[in-house]
Every structure is written in C-alpha cells, then in structure tokens.
Amino acid sequence: MIDKLFGWVDDRLALSRSGRHLINKIFPDHWSFMIGEIALYSFIVLLLTGVFLTLYFVPSGSDVVYHGVYAPLRGQRISEAYNSTVNLSFQVRGGLLMRQMHHWAANIFVGSIVVHMLRVFFTGAFRRPREANWMIGTTLLILAIFNGFLGYSLPDDLISGTGIRIAFSITESIPFVGTYLGFFLFGGQYPGTAIIPRFFILHVLVLPLVILGLLAGHLGMLVKHKHAQFPGRGARNDNVVGSPLWPTYAAKAGGFFFLTTGVTALLGAAVQINPIWQYGQYYPYKVSYAVQPDWYMGFLDGALRVMPAWELHLPGHMIPNVFFPAILLPGITFTLLMLYPFIEAKLTGDVAEHHLLDRPRDRPVRTAFGVATFAFYFVLFGASATDVLANYLSLTLNFVLWAFRIMAIVVPFIVFAVTYKLCKELQQTPSAGKRQQFNLILRSADGGYTTVPAEQYPGYDQPELAPVDVEKVELTADAAQQDGDEGVYEIPRRYR
C-alpha cells in the first residue's frame, strides 16, 4: 500500500533518482563539521517558538493601562507591546517557557554561528571554491545579529528601550545623512510610536525570510561543493571520505536536532532570561544601571565604553565620537570578514582549489591572526560589563575602564605571539593532538616496578587513524544500493 503510494508519486515527480543521489551523499566524519548544524537547529527552534509568540504579542506602541497579575505594574500606563509580553509571560500557559526558549535559542543561534565560523576559518575551509559560501555565512551572521537586536527590542521594556535609544544615536552619528536616516527609521522624532511595528515586521517576516533563503543557498552550495575534509584515512583533494547521508547522517542529524532543542528547552525552563516584568515599561526619562545588550552586540557596547572622547572636527561638519566605535568599527570588521578569503589568497598567492582542510597549527600566521582578532573582540565584549566587573571585583570603575582600554590594544599582540609560538611548537611535536597512550605501572611480588603501555580501548587495535588506501568503485544505481560491501563509491565533483 505504502509502496504503491510512493510509486504513484514517483511516477509523476521522478524524485527517486535525485533522491537516491542525495541520500547516498557522503559527508566526512568529524565532530567539528556538526557545529553549523547547531545554528540550523536553533534557527528551527526560533521559528517554532517565534510563531507561538506572535500569537500573543501585540506590536504596538500605544498606551494601555496594565490590569494583569503582576502587582507592581497594576495601574501603570504601559505600551501594548510591553503589556502583551508581560501577559504572555504570566497569563499564557507555557508562554514564559516559550519566550525564554526563544531568547536562549537566539543566544545559541548567534553563538553557534560564531563557533562554526571559527572552525571554518581556522581549518581554511573558506578557500576556493568556497569563498562565496563564506560570504553567505558572514551575511547570515550579520543578519542574525541584527534580528537578535530587533527581537530584543520588541518587548519595549526599560532595558531594550535603552538599547533602541543607543541605536538611534548611533544612526544619527553617521556623517551627513545620520539625522535623516534616524528620522526615516523611526518615522520622526525619537522615540515616536512607529518603531515597534516596524521592528516587528522586520523581525518576524523580512529578516527571517532572507535568512531562510540564504540558509538554503548556504546548504545548497555545501551539497554542490561537497564537504571539505581533513587529510588522512584515504582522503585526498579529489575525493570525499566519510559516511552516507542515509542512514548515518540522517540519524545523527535527527538526534542532534532533538538534543539541541532539548538543551534550549532545559535552559528555557531552568534559567531565567530577560525578566522584563522587573524592568518595567521603557520611558525615555527612565534608565537603569548595569544594562548591556545581548552578548552578540556586546563588542559594540564595549567599544562605545572604551572609546576615548574624541571627535573629528571637519570644516562645517563634526564627526561625533559615537561614529568611530559604533559605525566605523563594525563596518571595517564585517567588510574585512567578508573579504577575508580574497585577502588571504592575495597575500599567499594560493588560488588553487582546496578540499582538504588545514590543521590550524600548519598555518601559524592565519591561526595566530584569527585568535588575536577574536581576542580583541572578546576584550571588547568584556568591556561591555565594566560596571558589573568593577562592582563584583571591588575595583574602581575608572581602573576597570583603563584596564580594558589597554587590554584591547595589548592583548591581541600577546595572543598573536603566543599562538604563533604554540603552532610552531605543535608542528614539531609529532605526537601532539594524537590519542595518549597510557602506561600501566605494575608492581611485582618482589617489589620491582615495570611499565607497560595500556590498551587504548579494550579490543581496539587501531590507536591512530593512518591514511588507508581505498579502491575505486563506479557509482551506479546498483553500487549505491549495495549495502555493507566495500562501501566505496565514486561521485564526480560536478562543478568541474
């Protein structure tokens, strides 16, 4: 019966041929190749929980009087956006869990994109032919950060309102056009009432659609290029060694999706995030201390904090201080990030196709540069909490601020030198990164000691993965259907 149904569908759509091709797709085995999947799955969690939230959220800046269950707000004039967010947290069954899952998933989404990007960077997976996919990935990161900020702003609470205020000032700081841009974005003077509905439609429709489209392109290119792989185990620049999509990776990916969702749900259930009812409605004249953006905007907040009070006075026009840390810095950051594959190709003169990944230690300059750059942004992220750190460490705020100013400049150089040296040392240590052979120390009856190497795992006689010669088999429908034979298929790289 089911066979008949599938047969009927297949007769009309002819899915089985391309489907067969797809499910026989080989993916290289390495745990670090699965980090990007975390981003994919947390994005799915974001879509699902987000749809739930839109059922109850009212994207409006209009005033209402709060009549809900939270006593300290009762009778206060608040916006409909804030009102509906508090109500969905307290009065909708599962609403708070959904909101917290959505927020945690957003943190994990951007975080896993960054970790995935670090993996791609340090293994050189961005090199030809994958430059375009690197650029799509960078665009996805930027969009994820933007959409995170928009979503963070929607509840219209005290802290997010402060963030919108800063965003308005940053927009205004753009030379010559800033004021007009700010007015255009906010539909007039700050704060107005237009910003919540505008952010809402961008957050729930426009940006998710663009992200979804780019995600499809990202994965399509991955399939087209085939996944890059580490050398060893017979892997060469012109083949793919790994496990097939079906059943191995389908099972892994399915399990991984549920586990990622489970982690998000656990965090959403057990750890409070953004308790907006404690913050109250945002009014431009109210502000709280110890306010920062979500972590992925943290480097911008930190840059704003550590930036000395310099302005640039041009004839007839002043470039405000905010422009340098909040527009120029991210502008340069993401431009360089976007163009990095081409910059490196230019510097090294290496324009060949690469399907074999680098071990980070084998590219000490790139690795050291990457770690140093990451350290710079991590210091800026830390600088977004100068006040909280000063309070907890019982230091003066001024000292902490100056410490971060100096660290932002000094730490990258130290990190570069240390990483470079470590890479060089690792290159000369053949056993580095391999599994440790443990030793058993035995004491004999007469008191003597002897040392014998221990077994890796009981019954495991292949302690190191050495390159293996493999034989070629033509990929035919028959070969593909063979199960449990040599398992060696030939798939031509089609883009050639």
């Binding site: 745990w31 083949n239 991984f256 979500d294």
Partner: protein, 286 residues
C-alpha cells in the same frame, strides 16, 4: 599628605552635614521614640552616651562635634545615626573608603539609644522614621524607583559601581526604615530626596516596592543569574548553551569510531589493510 587630604575630603562628602536639614515634611508619619516613659528615656540616653563614648567619640569627638577623622554629627538627627549604625557602616575602619554593609555591631535597642543620644545633643535633623506600609501602592513605588533609584542601584536593586571607587550598594537585605532614612538623608554619594522630589506617599510606595519586590522578586523562569543583565545571560548562553551543544556534537560526531570498538569484527582491520565497511568511512573518488 595628598592621600590624607583626599581621605578627609572624601570622608566629608560621605558624611555631608547638609543631609541633616531634611525639610519640614520629611517626617513621613515619623515619631521619635520619645513616647517611651521618662525614666526609660533617661536610661536609654545614658546607655547611648556610654556606647557613643566607647565607640564613636574617638573620631566624632566626645560631644559629636567632629574631628579631623570624622564629621560633626550635631543636628543630623536620630534617623541619620540610626541608618549608619544599623547598616553596619559604622564603626568604620578606614574613613577614606566608602563603608560597606556588615553585620551591625549593636542590637536594635543599643542603636536606638545611640541615635537618641546624638539627637539629644542638638536640635534638627531627621527623626527615626516609622514606616507604615498599609495602603502603599507598589506600582507607584516601582515607577518612582525606576525613575530615581534604578539609575545607580539598577532596576533589580543589585547595586553597581560608580566612578572613582564609589558604588551604589545592593538593596538586598535592607529594612523599610533604612530605605526611608537613606532616601531622606542621602548617605554618602547618594542624593538626598526632599518631599518635593519624592512625596511622603511616594516614599511609602517606594519602601513598599523595595521591601516586597526587590527583596523578594517575583522570579518565575528559573535561576535569576544575579539580576545583573544580559552579560551574565550571554555567558550562560555561550558556555552552557553553545558549549553543551558542541559537546553533543563531539559525542555524536565521534560515534563512528566508538562503534568500531564494540562489535563489527571487520572494522578492526589494521592500517593499510582492507577498506572497512558498515559504519566505517565510505569514499567517493573523482
């Protein structure tokens, strides 16, 4: 030398005597504990004098007139003294740094008697306020709190660092009386809020909000991470959220090799031998 001068300047800021003139309407339903019968009052004053002489006079002088080490307390009123002593700020080891809350050295009766004794030396200042929270409106208190208190103490009352080594202390563990005293007298770096800024009714509301909702925040949704905002949340998101997911990736991604160890005899072929099958790597060539 400069250090000493700086220390004295700071100490004089911390103890600024203008805090004494709390304005006519400052006593929100306040009452000096003068209603006690006269002999008891005399006994309290005598106890207060003894305690003051033993513990306070070395800096503030034997008649609270102040010295190079501590400011004049005359005319500051019982409320100011009660706040500084009951919060454990006083006695103070080092007048150059902002006092921090520590377990109070004196019990309630002793603290009150010291405060009454100092208040008896000169007229003026804030009596110890008696806060009646019946009928208080915590929503109005929340609004006043967000406007006037949150900019330094943070909206969750966690407290935070201010410039030059000063800080706005955490509001967790304070009493209603202390909140009212602090608002009206403005200890240290804190502004003094007169009845023109925070009306007596609003003060009751703020005290209600602080003692009920800052002390015992309605905290559904799990661990509150100290109420210090999104940086703490970011660390949890990165190191717990992404971290655990990456560990899961490590676990799942390493699965193939682990499977080799249990079962499948042919998976154990030595390097250079037959290509393994089953869950072992499959290869595609160009």
């Amino acid at each position: 030398m400069g250090v000493v001068v700086g220390a004295l300047a700071l100490a004089s800021v911390l103890f600024s005597p203008h805090a004494a003139t709390a304005g006519p309407g400052a006593s929100l339903s306040s009452a000096v504990l003068a209603s006690a019968s006269a002999p008891n009052h005399r006994a309290a004053l005598s106890l207060g004098r003894t305690l003051f002489d033993e513990n306070c006079s070395s800096c503030h002088g034997v008649s609270a007139q102040g010295s190079a080490l501590g400011p004049n307390l005359r005319g500051l009123g019982a409320g100011t003294v009660d706040l500084w002593v009951s919060s454990g700020w006083m006695p103070l080891a080092n007048p150059a740094i902002q006092p921090i809350r520590k377990p109070a050295l004196f019990d309630r009766a002793q603290t009150t008697s010291i405060a009454q004794y100092v208040a008896s030396l000169a007229p003026g200042g804030l009596p110890i306020p008696k806060v009646d929270l019946a009928g208080a409106n915590s929503a109005e208190g929340f609004s006043v709190f967000a406007l006037n208190c949150a900019p330094c103490h943070t909206v969750t009352g966690a407290g935070d660092a201010l410039a030059d080594g000063l800080s706005a202390p955490s509001l967790h563990g304070v009493t209603a009386t202390q909140v009212a005293e602090a608002v009206r007298t403005g200890p240290g770096n804190m502004p003094r809020f007169s009845t023109f800024t925070i009306s007596p009714t609003q003060l009751t509301d703020v005290v209600d909000y602080v003692t009920k909702h800052i002390e015992h925040p309605s905290s559904p949704g799990g661990l509150s991470l100290g109420g210090v905002g999104p940086v703490a949340e970011g660390f949890v998101g990165l190191f717990v959220g992404v971290g655990v997911c990456v560990l899961i990736a490590l676990w799942i991604g390493d699965r193939n090799e682990r499977e080799d160890t249990d079962g499948h005899g042919d998976a154990h072929s030595p390097p250079g031998g037959e290509p393994p099958s089953g869950s072992e790597p499959e290869v595609a060539h160009a």
